[in-house]
Symmetry: D2
Subunit: 388 residues, 4 copies
């Protein structure tokens, strides 16, 4: 039985209620809370189909996190939408620690959103020839791509060859949008130009072939950036760990060595602790494409125990995909959460990326300390080994 | 400036409003929609700290998806919470295709949630000796772990050694809970027993060291399962692709070959298209721990073009982390969405896992076809190449 | 034009000379040195086909390396066959350093050679059922496998499922042979028993499907062992690095942190420096299957800077494939080189594995120090920056 | 006890004999065959230290392999040094199959040898600034690098950032040398120029930090090339598989699908069968740096079953490291083997790369067919299932 749709206007309370009634009738379930949204369904046009209501995800505040970025500077109260108890508290605790240490320095290292068409040829030699042609015709390809977009800019086209296939990555900057749609459209136009103008024979092309790895984690994105590549850094005095975290920088650093090895062996995409937790909570709150947690959750942690006991800690997020414009950012609660960070709209996306990265760093130190302290306090305590 | 908390009862409208006022005052933002939740804040205790309101995420219905599982059988209308336009429509389209082909068969291959303590010794030889001891003492360790939980069962302990460290994975079944907390507590108890009873010298242990890779994607979890390992399979008549998808099984299969190669080269954790989209949308709707998209988004696609033009398609999700009990599953809208699938509460978790996997499969075929057809229709059409 | 073969006896000087003449005639090349081997070609039966002569690979001696293993104990002079200048000198230098530090402790953590058949079924559910049957019938399967071999023992069968396929790893101990042939034959026999006795329907099986990854490097072998899993450990006083290596443990340790991060990002199978150099040179000298360098070159380095400046350093080789019996070990020069290490024949394979691992560790410290010192000495020196 | 060295001239029979006597005395072993080399030890200066003799590795001839390359064209008899029985026969069989199918087409897609210095800064922002400076100063850096070499050319410098570190890859073409030493020296000179001229503060640099992954396998090299990136392609009529291989293209293609999935799950660096076997045997025979098997053994196989039953098969070797000049290529037997292929000396390295790739392809088809046929013939035959 097909879900009812209104051919007239599907983004109304009536249409939503009709679907709700249909679902309730077919399943016996009640969709009471789901249908208690605070806005007009017309606001969701372009964001959802078959709208029936909303998921209400609890929202907590953490902070302030102190950020010293090039785009974000000062104290921020971070909205986090989650149903996982202790998550907000844990980030909050980390933000306190880092605040006392002077805050987080954030830097955006790179910015690239891509679509990755693959081109097939009769044989490898033709693929190689096409690659050379592609290099030689970057300017008109760029022009063709950019005709479809006001904000997107084609930066470069990477090439990766195998067999009779040339895999490419069309890398764009995309303004304040995340840019997946923009790059898709621009790259389709670029490919159309290519197909029309290439004098050789392209057997087939595919607009996407697992080299942009949208909604998936990959080594190529960890190496070459997808979205923003952001580094968050902080140096925490050793004494603070003992005061605030019941831990020590020495123990944290040794645990980090073990985690580095464990992560290397297990083939993990993140040698840190749980950046996905903070990223997901902020993504839901601020209307990001939450499925991008798949790639945004990759991270590189690099830490150093300084001779004086200070702990230098950094997190590099190589594929942080954020937007302050477009997608879900304009939805009612989502926009409010962005405004809470002064990150709604144009010219704000780097600021948001920095705040997210700073938040992540605080969460890493918090959970990292908890793991160390748990052992120290709980295990040893429970066992009574260090008691008289 | 610290976020206000009520020492009395922090899960009240008053406490939430106080925080809201604080945030509005410090940021100038309005949190109007955020505070229009339909339930009493007390319902969020255990799910959030510093509660200020809710993120309202648009919810659409897709389906029905036809599932032939061992736990889910029949038609399901799938609630998907997302702000990404076309997502629901795309899954819906895939569900239609697969429905016409007779539905999705789903199978749960394995079930294991883990905590992964690492044990450090003076040298490798002691680590190896400890590993043997661990094998020999599985029964009392299991008993110690299970004393802390009603539903968790310790299945086995895997060992991975490097240097003077023994990394372990304590694998549990966890009933209808996702089980991260349960396994953490049980493993801490197991470790306490181990530390108290091991006659040798454990230099240090860490309750977690990147071998369970919670909230991260890893090869070890793709190999050894985290949460549920689910396979969804369907065989689609070739004609259906042409009728419903303006595509063909031959073209899809060739595109799959290219994607397989692309994914192998790019080092991706999923050779499919976009399982994270469907998983995330269902996770938000049904109160899952959305950060687990990091690991749940890994997938193996295996497809075959049959001699008669049929397309056998399967998705294996090796680390699908779902719950029908605990965590966010009991929150008002989340519970309603689970009830829509008849998946709320005890004894339902495998059913939910099967529905999610079936949903994912439909989305893969839909986007896969779109990529192929986009080339076919748009590119060729726009270019006018196949016009007279 | 076909290469000449003698149907009578192909392993004679005459047959070899006939091929040599043929090759010289067809190519114009001279094969003078190639044909100056010191033994009768009959000794190569079972090792080579179309024998024409030998590659003479220069052989150098390094050592002594001081090993404290469970199978190797004392000083060993290590034969290394290579054409890379400085390789022997570098290992020699590392052996000297470690000797002065008291030697290398070696431990064999695990021992498993495998063949990895894949079984295909009509659907995933049948694959899962078969997996259960496999567990239940381990004893007769083991009996069937072991009937084909005197020394091979089937330890266990691992299962990895995806789609309608069950991938397995049949893990064996193989005495003093490397065991690839032995495990192939035994597993074929086991599969024959399985196919004959499984009451369900196996659609197809393949004796190998990229899950043993013979002659290739893989995460699964790094996790689960192929051949011997060996750890070599040493603790080097800080002062020794300065005296012997013109370096320091602090600088080495910082460089290690950078290398760990670099390796994690680059997706390398070895976070150390160049274990393949030592392994290859010993493999050629001692008649190992040199193509196994592909998997034997994987390694995990774990190092610690101790508070007193000592440097704890360990290398874990998870897939070291060695033999002291069978294959090329009995060839004239190869056997002599094994005898040099008292490692020829039965009961010696663990000893050889330990010596190789110890050798690797020495080479790591040597090159690691050179990289650090090169910067320190050459770069700074050349630049004259630290001159008046 | 130190191995004897002659301070006068260490590359003489006397020096070698003295070491031999020393080794025999200390170990009780005889080094008779080892010392029966056919050339003067002075020829090994620059190739080995502590020379005592040679490893005599059996050498077989395979072929002719028919190659249609841009550098190699025609029939080649390939010298393979190995002690693994059946290896030469298997390659030989594959060469026959492919010969009957018209030969192998080979294409060199890319050519880059690298050294990968890492630069450390006080913070990430300085690392990013340095990266921009590096781009702006490519010309003088290139000049500084190239002053140290006649044949090396610095193509480009890739950048990969994490934390406060900039990892780089200095990519060179290196003429007919493999180029590891050349690039090391050139990059050291480039770094010296950089350190002397960069106005900012470089805290430290390391000439190598696991981003060139010399003698190790890595995703970055599989993506970005190390040495030569070579594709070998052939299209084999279906009937030939049945005639020559007792197999079929359909069965091979299905087996390939399973292998692709197996390899993706197992995290292997090569979804093919055993390219390391052929590469290693040719490397030993022709004086290559055999330890480079670690990276040269990575490969991408891409195959297609054509509608008419033909089997298109390709192997891409992304990191094939070969030389026809320098290193071990001038040693007596090694040079003869290169001459057998008309690949000794200047201007021959691409030809050798093509022959190696063609050889690999033949071996893949041979072993792939054997696996398929083994099942078909042996398993079914042994079991008698298809007998009356």
């Amino acid at each position: 039985m097909s879900i009812p749709r209104s051919t007239d206007n599907d983004y109304t309370r009536e249409a939503a209620d009709q679907r709700r009634a249909f679902a309730e009738e077919h399943t016996g379930a009640q969709l009471d809370h789901v249908s208690r949204y605070s806005f007009d369904p017309s606001e969701t046009a372009g964001n959802i189909e078959n709208f029936v209501g909303v998921a209400q995800v609890p929202l907590g505040l953490a902070g302030p996190v102190v950020v010293h970025g090039e785009h974000a500077e000062g104290e921020f109260y971070v909205p986090m939408a989650t149903a996982e108890g202790t998550l907000v508290a844990s980030y909050n605790r980390g933000m306190k620690l880092v605040r006392e240490a002077g805050g987080v320095t954030t830097t955006i290292m790179d910015d690239a959103m891509q679509r990755a068409p693959a081109f097939l040829f009769a044989n490898a030699r033709q693929a190689r020839d096409f690659g050379e042609w592609l290099d030689d015709h970057f300017d008109p390809i760029k022009a063709a791509a950019e005709q479809t977009t006001r904000t997107g800019r084609l930066r470069d086209i990477e090439q990766y060859s195998a067999s009779r296939i040339l895999f490419t990555r069309f890398n764009y900057t995309t303004g304040d949008a995340a840019g997946q749609n923009l790059t898709g459209k621009a790259t389709a136009a670029a490919c159309a130009w290519i197909v029309a103008n290439y004098e050789g024979e392209i057997e087939r092309f595919l607009l996407e072939s697992n080299f942009a790895t949208d909604k998936k984690s990959s080594q190529v994105n960890m190496l070459r950036t997808r979205g923003k590549r952001v580094v968050a850094e902080a140096t925490i005095p050793g004494a603070l760990f003992e005061d605030v975290m019941r831990s020590s920088s020495e123990r944290l650093f040794q645990a980090r060595q073990v985690s580095n090895l464990g992560g290397f062996m297990s083939g993990v995409n993140n040698n840190g602790a749980h950046s996905a937790n903070g990223i997901t909570a902020v993504f839901i709150a601020t209307g990001q494409d939450v499925a991008n947690v798949a790639e945004s959750s990759a991270a590189f942690v690099f830490a150093e125990l300084r001779p004086n006991g200070d702990y230098y800690y950094s997190v590099t997020i190589p594929s942080l995909i954020v937007a302050t414009y477009g997608g879900g950012t304009g939805l009612p609660t989502q926009r409010e959460c962005l405004e809470l960070l002064d990150c709604y709209g144009k010219g704000k996306v780097h600021k948001l990326a920095e705040i997210v990265a700073a938040t992540v760093l605080c969460g890493e130190l918090s959970l990292g300390s908890a793991i160390v302290a748990e052992e120290w306090v709980e295990a040893h305590d429970l066992l009574g080994r260090n008691r008289p």
